[in-house]
Symmetry: C2
Subunit: 253 residues, 2 copies
Amino acid sequence: MSGHLAVVGLGPGDARWLTPEAQSALDAADALYGYGPYLDRVPARPGQGRHPSDNREEMSRAGAALAQAAQGARVAIVSGGDPGVFAMAAAICEAIETGPPSWRALDVTIVPGITAMLAVAARAGAPLGHDFCALSLSDNLKSWELIERRLDAVAGAGLVIALYNPVSRARPWQLASALDRLRRHLPDATPVIFGRAVGRTDESITVTTLDAADALAADMATLIIVGSRATRVIPRPGRPLVYTPRAATEASA
Amino acid sequence: MSGHLAVVGLGPGDARWLTPEAQSALDAADALYGYGPYLDRVPARPGQGRHPSDNREEMSRAGAALAQAAQGARVAIVSGGDPGVFAMAAAICEAIETGPPSWRALDVTIVPGITAMLAVAARAGAPLGHDFCALSLSDNLKSWELIERRLDAVAGAGLVIALYNPVSRARPWQLASALDRLRRHLPDATPVIFGRAVGRTDESITVTTLDAADALAADMATLIIVGSRATRVIPRPGRPLVYTPRAATEASA
């Protein structure tokens, strides 16, 4: 089988975060697939097919891209950020596992990208400077009880927490509930960062505290980082620096 | 103060993972600082100062870079991977917090990079496709008891685990002990990935299981990903695909 599928991470909005490997994969593709707004970030090229699809159509998008690659085409399917973090790479693997056996022989390359938490952390300082986790707050594909159990476990163990998918039209209350849950474990003054549209022209980065954090300040384009007991804020002109020291003590967990 | 400090993530070994933003920051610098082997990845340029230093000299390196920037120079300090993940950005923040008050007024930019766990995950499939964490196994700056407590918490809660700094000359037994600890929580067949020197010419990626995982297979250049109960392996020609599905059930945690 001569086809090829690249699962390409575009990074967050700024083109200066698109790696040379990702650029090459986009240039080499006969056809591009992806969620519409991500595909819009890739300039059109004559002769290159474009197949935008909707937000919650990951599995049909994955199947269509694999089917075209299986016919011998060079196909790229794009993700914002990194394709391996709450994004298309897992959907592609699922489609390969459940699809025609011939798909297992396909040449598949995952092209990593800067994931949102790294970009938001960079803007704020170094909040992920010590042990941390990435949790999706979406309860479309897992129960809310499981999400709460994970929040309890990681906050109790002193990990910094990056929250992906904090809110959507169909999930309006989950973020407020998660913040309340974290307030059981962490002090009021725990630093919290809301990073919205990082790398885009309408980027905003807000540093607040857990007691003051307002779920209404987040939307679908927001990534939230909740510090640990060890996370520190350095006041300075303009936005403060937020970081988690490299050393940790029992008291910090 | 006219100086500037960029804390630059080079990504893992492959230059195709160096972002355009990182390349620009390196090009614009009057002086480069960093751990010797990372600095060796940046081609020399006439007139640009180079200040390599040793592995465990983060704080003196941070101080020297900040001092030169405070004198008005454009300084870049480099990290492998992402500077915000167990790397220089937190050391720079620590140095700013404890240093001369004038350092707080310095223009500091953190330039994110592809961190090792994203690159290793991309080679393997999508093992970080659902909730996950990144833990450093170094007990230089935290107690071994705290590390065990965190391993217990995250394995018990069903997170996939990326282990940074698994081993060094001074820390020979920690990885074997951590794997034993995880065996209390996770089935023998749990997928484990050893990613060594990812992106370099001597890269090796090994997929094994928790019962067979051998700590002696890791060295300082290795990043380890331990799956959750939900992580799956798809056999295929060549190396299998490893992924964690987007959906999670209580039974998977």
